[in-house]
């Protein structure tokens, strides 16, 4: 992962000229959030909901899947926390390509 940089002690995203962390837009946080939410719901369903041993052959499938999802979610959130993606403030604009008719870049890249 060439984006990976050593943990920077959580420098914030508002530092004027430098760079900022991808934060919520980091896909690892999104994966962690969704799987974690599913993990919580399934764990609760396994503990509180009706158990259907006839279907699963006696295993509390909701509970075990829920716990498994919680572990995976925690791993993703931890990974994102330990090695945040740093988004540079200035991204190189793509070159104009002489072999194609257009587009001519008529405006500066939006910030």
């Amino acid at each position: 992962m060439s984006h990976d940089t050593p943990a920077s002690g959580g420098t914030s995203s508002t530092g004027g000229t430098g760079s900022h962390q991808a934060g919520a837009f980091d896909i690892r946080n999104i994966i962690g959030a969704l799987l974690g939410l599913y993990g919580v719901i399934l764990t609760l369903a396994g503990l509180l909901g009706e158990h259907e041993p006839a279907k699963t052959g006696g295993v509390n499938a909701n509970l075990w899947t829920g716990l498994g999802l919680l572990v995976v979610a925690a791993a993703f959130l931890l990974w994102a926390r330990l090695r945040p993606i740093i988004v540079p403030e200035d991204v190189d604009p793509p070159d104009d390509d002489p072999t194609r008719p257009a587009p001519k870049r008529t405006r500066p890249p939006a910030t």
Binding site: I31, K55, A61
Partner: protein
């Protein structure tokens, strides 16, 4: 409107979902749309929109690469094959996918990524000029619309089976959801969602497989039950012997050949070479994922990283199919030659229902919702991938080059969004075509034969033979496709008598051979491009250092292309020997 509006009446559903299942599905859709909204904030110009600014790490694009392919056909079709044929279905993965993915990463990706093309047709433009480009761009755009229709039809079929909604409502709703997240965020959102979908699919299919195996008494219990079922099946059901269902080679049940030698040859050359290399190396839907990565090294590693999950996906799609065939009463009846009522289509159970019926029988409410979310996710992934690839090719390769040149970047971004809306709308109608086929897999294989086989032939010849001329480029494509269509029509008329996908395979092989032969003949009598224009496009004219990432040598072995590919190859050989 040619849509036939079915009467809106409450229907019996195949699967009983509770509020808990609906909650899990609703959370998934909230995330999907949320990603679109978030991605929109970071979309700055059209490069960002179409290729995500080439900023994604290799593991993200690698999973998206697999997820773009882990659609309806993969999950439903392969579990159906698992129920019918058993273990030999793994050839679709270990012979029919992994070697081609490694070849793409090691050999072909440097040309794609290094030449900075935004699409496969654009590569054709650089190599062969206008003729081949126009032919390829149009045929690609048409193919994407037809295949998006297949995905949409399957998606709507599942919604219909699970929720009981009429097909036409399911079609429109599914189309609207896919549309909203692509138009909101572009390829970035599509790729992010694909990675998310990958995890949801694994999270739902893995428990399904484990619980299923638990119910039949583990792997040994499954083997015993399949052996007993095969021995006890009536002769007229034509069930493959247990030995053939439990060993991958020589796979006669799958290939349809009686001779084991012909079967091995058929699988290795037919499935493993023409169809598989043609599909994986020229399919822009997949290649586009790799081009969104942040370096040449990451682009080359994208299909290679993808090959690792690809190797193990058979265990969570084929095994549930095999379990379903010995555990679910309808499937047992079907395999014994019966024709039980019910099924997703409503016209009787087919092997396509293997996975759904197993879910119904073994998953408790809660996990069931997760599985439904996973299936919906997979089908949406397939369609979204088609639509975003269409979008890129239409706006850059057709509109910009042939219709309106020299407009500002904003303009093409806007055209891209309009094309997305139009493509989704058209897909609702091409879905009606797909619904007209008894077996959607046949239809899909036929389309691949038309579009991918000749493209692969032209590509591989053009990449390794500098003498190949621009005229040969478009002539080969046109006549390759036409010959495949001709074979298909002859088969449809009954002149060529081959079962199911046999005709599609012969059509693809014919297209490949016709394309190569015509390209060579035409090249010998027309003028080639000057050698100076072929740098980065033809193997012999490209300096070796342009084909590798200079920074890659400093990485540890697991972040380098060749060692990673070697590990993947070794693993897939071990898997072939083990099963």
């Amino acid at each position: 409107m040619s849509l036939q509006l079915a009467p809106v009446v409450p229907m019996a559903t195949l699967i009983d979902a509770s509020w808990l299942d609906y909650l899990l599905v609703a959370i998934y859709f909230a995330f999907v749309l949320g990603i679109g909204v978030m991605a929109r904030r970071s979309v700055s110009d059209s490069i960002d929109f179409f290729l995500s600014g080439r900023s994604l790490p290799a593991w993200v694009t690698g999973l998206a690469f697999i997820s773009a392919n882990l659609g309806a056909v993969e999950i439903m079709g392969m579990s159906a094959n698992g129920a019918e044929f058993g273990i030999p279905t793994v050839h679709y993965f270990w012979v029919g996918a992994v070697p081609a993915m490694l070849f793409l990463g090691v050999v072909m990706m440097p040309f794609y990524y290094g030449s900075k093309v935004r699409s496969v047709p654009e590569f054709m433009f650089r190599r062969f000029g206008t003729g081949a480009h126009l032919v390829n761009a149009i045929s690609f755009a048409v193919a994407q619309l037809l295949i998006a229709g297949v995905n949409l039809a399957l998606l709507a079929g599942i919604v219909h089976a699970l929720l009981g909604w009429p097909i036409w409502i399911a079609l429109v709703v599914a189309g609207a959801v896919v549309l909203s997240y692509i138009t909101l965020g572009g390829l970035s959102a599509a790729i992010y969602n694909e990675v998310l979908q990958f995890f949801i699919i694994i999270a739902s299919l893995l428990p399904l497989t484990l619980i299923g195996l638990h119910r039949v008494g583990g792997w040994d219990g499954l083997n015993d039950k399949i052996t007993a079922a095969a021995d006890g099946a009536p002769a007229e059901a034509a069930v493959a012997p247990a030995a053939q269902q439990l060993e991958s080679w020589p796979g006669q049940a799958l290939s349809g050949f009686d001779s084991p030698y012909l079967s091995v040859i058929g699988i290795v050359f037919g499935l493993g070479f023409v169809l598989s290399f043609g599909y994986w190396t020229t399919n822009f839907v997949e290649v586009q994922r790799a081009m969104a990565s942040n370096s040449m090294s990451a682009a080359r590693r994208t299909p290679i990283i993808g090959s690792f999950p690809k190797m193990f996906i058979p265990f969570i799609v084929i095994v549930p199919g095999m379990v379903s065939a010995v555990l679910v009463q309808e499937m047992i009846d079907l395999k014994n030659g019966g024709s039980p009522a019910g099924g997703a289509s409503g016209d009787g159970v087919t092997y396509n229902d293997a996975l759904l019926l197993l879910m119904r029988d073994v998953l408790p409410n809660g996990l069931l919702g997760l599985a439904i979310a996973g299936l919906l996710a997979a089908f949406m992934a397939g369609m979204a991938a088609n639509i975003s690839a269409f979008n890129t090719v239409f706006s850059y390769d057709l509109w910009q080059r042939y219709i309106r040149k020299d407009h500002a970047d904003d303009y093409y971004l806007r055209i891209g969004r309009i094309a997305t809306v139009a493509a989704t709308f058209i897909a609702i109608f091409t879905a009606r075509i797909a619904l007209g086929y008894d077996n959607v897999m046949d239809y899909l294989q036929t389309l691949f034969g038309f579009f991918n086989a000749p493209l692969f032939a032209t590509f591989i010849l053009g990449m390794f033979w500098k003498r190949m001329t621009p005229t040969a480029g478009w002539v080969g494509l046109v006549f390759g496709t036409l010959s495949a269509v001709a074979v298909d029509r002859l088969a449809a008329a009954g002149v060529i008598d081959l079962p199911g996908q046999g005709a599609a395979f012969v059509a693809a092989s014919t297209a490949f051979v016709v394309d190569i032969v015509l390209s060579v003949l035409v090249s010998l009598v027309t003028r080639p491009k000057p050698v100076s224009e072929l740098k980065g496009l033809v193997y012999s004219e490209t300096p070796r250092e342009d084909l590798v990432d200079p920074d890659e040598a400093a990485n540890p072995w697991y972040q380098r292309t060749i060692p990673l590919a070697a590990v993947a190859l070794a693993m897939v050989i071990v898997l072939n020997a083990a099963f």
